[in-house]
Amino acid sequence: MSETIVSMTGIGKDFAGVTALYDVDLTIGAGEICCLVGENGSGKSTLIKILAGVHAPSAGEFVIGGEKRDSYRPVDALKAGIQVIYQDFSLFPNLTVAENIAFASQISGRVGRFSRKRVNEIASAVLRRIRIDLDLDALAGDLPMVDRQLVAIAAALVTDAKLIVMDEPTTALSQREVQALLEVVKGLKAEGISTLFVSHKLDEVAEISDHTVVLRNGTKVADAAADAFDRAALVTAMTGRAIEYGHNIATPVAADSPVLLRLDSVSRPGCFTDVNLTLKAGEIVGITGLLGSGRDTLALSLFGMLPPTSGNVFINGEPVELNSVQDAIAHRIGFVPEDRLTEGLFLDHSIKDNIVIRTVSDLRNRFGLLDVKKAAQLAVDWVANLSIKTPTVTQAVSTLSGGNQQRVVLAKWLSANPQILVLNGPTVGVDIGSKAQILDLLRELAGNGMGIVVISDDIPELLDVCHRILLMRGGHVTDTFARKDITEQELNTLLVAS
């Protein structure tokens, strides 16, 4: 690499006596694509925040743009051309694409006349530069996730970014969208702009990254060219233990296992068409497809939120109607939504309240009031059961890591003892260690006779845990595979081809 954009040496950071980072070195050259991986709590976020000037390091030195920095604030980071795209993309949903892109230079940076024409010119020039076509006048809030990401990247480029830091950029994207994003990043590289990817989805990023830095418990445990790692080595580096992939297939379903759920050519216009599905007790069925393929709406309809308009639903052989969430709950269906932050949890409320909310009416004492002791005990039991890492059950859920939050959502449903559990993206935003544990839990639940439907575009995860996998495209189930008949490669190809 010709020029060094960032060089950090011996960076350490303490928060009130807790070491978040210890002696971390990081060097990023111009036009380099660096991948920063690590589990939740490994120090990734702290490192980015130091890079962005939000946190001052407690030890170490860093040289940015050839200059040694002693005081380094967010505005210095921006001046040095370091742009951080946070997971929320920092967009204004009510402003247009063009306004979002040109915000810093044309709206917040100036006082006076606002020229929409000028804003559109700036935005379209940047979009042309990264070879992306977006409707400039569309509102950012109306865009799909991938386009919001692209708007955020374009906005960073307007400010002459030299290094773009993307925090978990692929979390909300489908496989094909990730490919589109990677193309853009490659284009930036050709222009000499560096990218720091922060991720825990490894495979998709590995193919374009120049070097990979692995953090674990606040220290750097590996730093090497990306092709020096295979997946297993990377996972071992991140977790400090070997987690096997592709071998943990669930126990086979007994041949005489009863059918819990049967969908008989159910349709809902605009969502899905003629879907047939059987789910036996003890079985885990995966549903995959691109965004908009109908996989998400099918998941919602299984939970009564988008009732099918035609076709029949049978539970335990009986025809039933799933017209509301109440119906679904009455049939003992549990649902772990795609976005746990907005749909699955009361973030500011305690772990206890979140766990007991589903069963709160069963926790009444003889006066009809909530039996506080029983509720607390239930929460404590589930926290222990699912090994949720927290000092107390009264802590707000928002203080937990992604993996632990997801376990709280699971605890909420499992405490109601469902016979069918539908999970949409069960491990999105969850680190590898927790992910393996959540998948283990699903296998165990299935082993005990629960029927489980997993909707995901994380192919390795589906292959890891499902007995059967359904592929959806344009609202139809186009293929069904038994786990043993399909490889990751084949499934990926099919998914992207659709």
């Binding site: 929320d88 920092s90 967009l91 204004f92 949903p93 009510n94 402003l95 306004e99 915000f103 810093a104 044309q106 709206i107 917040s108 940076g109 100036r110 006082v111 006076g112 006349r113 606002f114 020229s115 929409r116 979009l127 042309r128 070879r131 992306i132 076509d133 977006l134 409707d135 006048d137 809030g141 799909p144 991938v146 386009d147 692209l150 969208e177 589109a180 193309e183 809902r268 605009g270 969502c271 899905f272 908009g292 393929s293 109908g294 998400d296 709406t297 919602l300 988008l306 344009g474 609202g475």
Partner: protein, 350 residues
Amino acid sequence: MSAVTETAKPVTSARRRTAKRILRSNEFTIAVAIIVVSIVITAINPAFLSVSNIFDLLRLLTVTGILSLGVLLVMISGGVDVSFPAIANVSSFAAATMLLAAQFNGSGIVFYLIATPIGIALGLLNGFFVARFRVPTLIVTLGTSSLFYGAALFFLGGQSIFTLPAGTIEFSQASLITVPNPSGTGTTSLHPAVLILAVLAVLVWLLLNHTTLGRQIYALGGNPTVAERSGVNVHRVQYFIYATVGGLAAIGGVTYATLYRNANPVGLQGGELAVIAAVVLGGALITGGRGTVIGSLFGVLLIGIVQNSLVLVGLPATWQQVAVGIVLIIGTGVPALRALRQRRAANGGS
């Protein structure tokens, strides 16, 4: 998303997108509603479309229109202000008290010139609490509203002032155009105060759409955290908004006092919800980030028509509130339902 394959997209598709956006906009829906309601009322009683009735309606809606512009600004920024009627009353009443004490008898403009800075000062007080202490805007303005009314009664007394300056009286009787009544007796005139509303509306529209400050107000309502992170001086914007609302309220208050030839400390009290409702009906989001001048004015107009035309169609005036309630529920329910459908379609469509 797709990669650019050709350098230029056909212009027609951009035009079609724009046309679609207009058709789907709240302003368009409410304009249609105004037209439909007008047709229905005219069919029952053709007097509705008479020039004199329209002049009357405009006169009645001028003050609400002025006040709605302030409400709009606050709402776009993500706040709710319920103190504007208090500011309108108190600033105009204080100004009238001063003019009376000074035995002033000159131009009606002086009334405006004295009241407006008072309104701005009261608005700045709101801005101070909102910006410095980050108290929710509704709570701040509930508090200051009570404070302003109370202070006015204590310091200025509660006596209505009918002795307004000669210039103000003259302005209250001014007319842009005078037409004979359809009944043949008397005349109806278009009051020039409607021009004040028109000028203010254009100014606020310019502010919102053609200044960086205006876009910052939208940004603040869309995502306050990001606005701050992106370098918007949030405090300054908030001070500006609340000061402007105070100024607009004062202008509204003076106009009210002028039109009714009576300055009193409580005349507009209780009117805040109707104005807020009109602005919401016009497409502004109570959660901030969205709203337009034209939408708000349409909202004021639609509510005004429904409120003031029941008598024309032969319904007892006691039904006014019910009718306004129905308009509000339908007017805000339909767009909400449409948004929900769109969201669902976006979930399911490819």
